[in-house]
């Protein structure tokens, strides 16, 4: 516990030191001037504004369509599984507490434990 806290603290301090050194070097290298800051601020504001407009557009699509009135009723599951094999669910499987699935001659069978 104490070791973990100390390790976290060390990593945090190391990270902060690296971060400060990085910014200090960038600032003293002449990379940052008024134009850089102005373009950056403009870019940030434009990005956020475009995002908010897009969100509004998206939410309006949702509102216009309104809630789905009904869900599809695809009926019972197909007789074959996703690997194309026939599936047999033996009567009583749905109610049984313990069932097993066997694969014989590429036919999938689900039956209650103990059933033949």
């Amino acid at each position: 516990m104490v070791r973990g806290t100390v390790a976290r603290l060390l990593v945090f301090v190391l990270g902060v030191v690296l971060f400060v050194i990085g910014w200090w070097r960038a600032a003293t290298s002449g990379d940052i001037d008024l134009w850089f800051i102005a373009w950056l601020a403009l870019g940030v504001v434009a990005t956020v504004l475009v995002t908010l407009v897009w969100i509004r557009w998206n939410r309006r699509i949702y509102r216009r369509k309104g809630p789905r009135r009904a869900t599809a009723d695809p009926g019972p599951l197909p007789a074959r599984d996703q690997l194309g094999r026939p599936v047999i669910v033996v009567a009583g499987s749905l109610e049984a507490h313990a069932t097993r699935l066997t694969l014989v001659d590429d036919v999938v069978e689900i039956c209650p434990d103990g059933a033949q």
């Binding site: 850089f36 897009w54 695809p74 996703q82 699935l101 066997t102």
Partner: protein
């Protein structure tokens, strides 16, 4: 000769375009994610929004909790224990044991004997998580199925938060929850705490507002059974069946929603090898889904999908271009050729990216601290995230993409992957 080629490449418009893309993409996406996630916080996570979850027991749909498991004897007991005391009126639990060779069946049977709501299906042949869930669905007769990993622990009220969406909105086909890391053992797991708050949760908040979600959490996802049947359930050929099913549902115009209140404790990889294998699978799965659905998603009728398609495709492109860029720079250094067009490190733009990354991590963790106060402690390791973790994930993406696309083209069936055990 080499010098003139190096200079020609570095002064070409393609080089400049790539450099601009590498510099701008992370900053722009970070800003978009942060601003949209804050919108989600304002419209969906206020105290006033609690009324949305006040649904009477009679209105709540019946639920089957599906727990696919393969050799999960270490975690399954704890996971099932959490399910006995759920605050929900009508539910069943179905454990699908995918031919485990350990005590998984015996553990499931103990819970079946103890609680009449529990069921167990034992498969005699191991075929992977997707097929385990698909076969389990044959025994589901409820309106909603909630898939929970066998090494997770569902919060007591999670079902109520999730099922309010199904009860209130017929359009909802899937709701994914908020996974919280429980094994905070070392630096790697701490970095994943930060990641799950600031990348996974923050991104899902943002994508919920965009209208489409890129990926759901395999560890906790709930589906309207009719919707799941409508999209032919889980594809056994996908490395990440959860990403694939989310896309299939959304392209059939079902809503996929993120519910931050639906908490689930999960175990994350605590070794570099385990994390690497997990992320190679995730990145490969995303590449497969983009290849399978990406081109169709550009049709006008799927325009709400455009945000996530663009973001996902550009993130894969960014990873590849970034490593190419670094490799080209390294080659020039080795050849002692001029590297004048490459930025010095650290420069102002690099620090700006680091600052944006840290801001995103902080906002993500702050948003999630409402549900897990301890998440704040993980911010201590946040400075390492853009330095180490980000780079690791970039390499993972490049390593995974092409092999996954080849596997999908060859029709290889995906198998179980439990990297945390590795």
């Amino acid at each position: 000769m080499i010098d003139s080629i190096a200079l020609a490449v570095q002064s070409s418009w393609i080089f400049l375009a790539v450099m601009a893309f590498l510099a701008l993409y992370p900053l722009v996406t970070s800003l978009v994610w942060i601003s949209t996630a804050v919108v989600f916080r304002l419209i969906r996570e206020g105290d006033d929004d609690e009324a949305f979850y006040e649904v009477s027991d009679a209105e709540l749909p019946s639920v089957t909790i599906l727990v696919p498991a393969f050799n999960e004897s270490r975690h399954l007991d704890t996971s099932l224990e959490a399910l006995h005391d759920l605050d929900y009126p009508e539910f069943r639990v179905l454990v699908v044991d995918d031919a485990s060779s350990d005590d998984t069946t015996a553990i499931a049977d103990r819970h079946v004997a103890r609680d009449p709501r529990f069921r167990r299906l034992r498969k005699e042949v191991n075929e992977g998580k997707s097929m385990a869930m698909n076969h389990g669905m044959r025994l589901v007769d409820t309106e909603v199925v909630v898939v929970v990993d066998a090494d997770s622990a569902l919060d007591r009220r999670a079902l109520r938060y999730i099922c309010a969406h199904f009860a209130r909105l017929a359009r909802v086909g899937c709701v994914t929850g908020n996974p919280r890391v429980v094994n905070r053992e070392n630096l790697l797991t701490e970095l994943q705490v930060v990641e799950f708050s600031s990348i996974v949760s923050l991104l899902r908040r943002a994508q919920h507002v965009w209208g489409r979600i890129l990926a759901i959490s395999g560890v906790i996802s709930a589906f309207r059974v009719s919707a799941l049947k409508d999209v032919d359930m889980f594809d056994p050929y996908r490395l990440t069946e959860d990403i694939d099913v989310a896309w299939k549902l959304q392209m059939r115009f079902y809503d996929v929603r993120y519910e931050p209140r639906a908490l689930v404790g999960m175990t994350v990889p605590s070794t570099l090898g385990g994390l690497w294998r997990q992320r190679v699978r995730w990145a490969g799965g995303l590449a497969q889904v983009l290849a399978a659905h990406g081109s169709r998603a550009w049709r006008w009728r799927y325009r709400r999908q455009w945000g996530v398609v663009t973001e996902a495709a550009l993130s894969v492109l960014w990873a590849h271009l970034f490593l190419l860029f670094v490799a080209f720079w390294a080659l020039l250094v080795v050849l002692d050729a001029p590297t004048g067009a490459f930025p010095a490190i650290p420069n102002a733009w690099g620090m700006l990216l680091a600052t944006a990354a840290l801001l995103q991590l902080t906002v993500g963790v702050l948003l999630d601290m409402r549900y897990e106060r301890r998440a704040g402690w993980a911010l201590a390791v946040a400075p390492l995230y853009p330095l180490l973790y980000w780079m690791l994930m970039t390499v993972v993406t490049v390593r995974a993409t092409i092999p996954a696309l080849i596997a999908a083209a060859l029709g290889r069936q995906a198998r179980w992957s439990t990297p945390r055990e590795a």
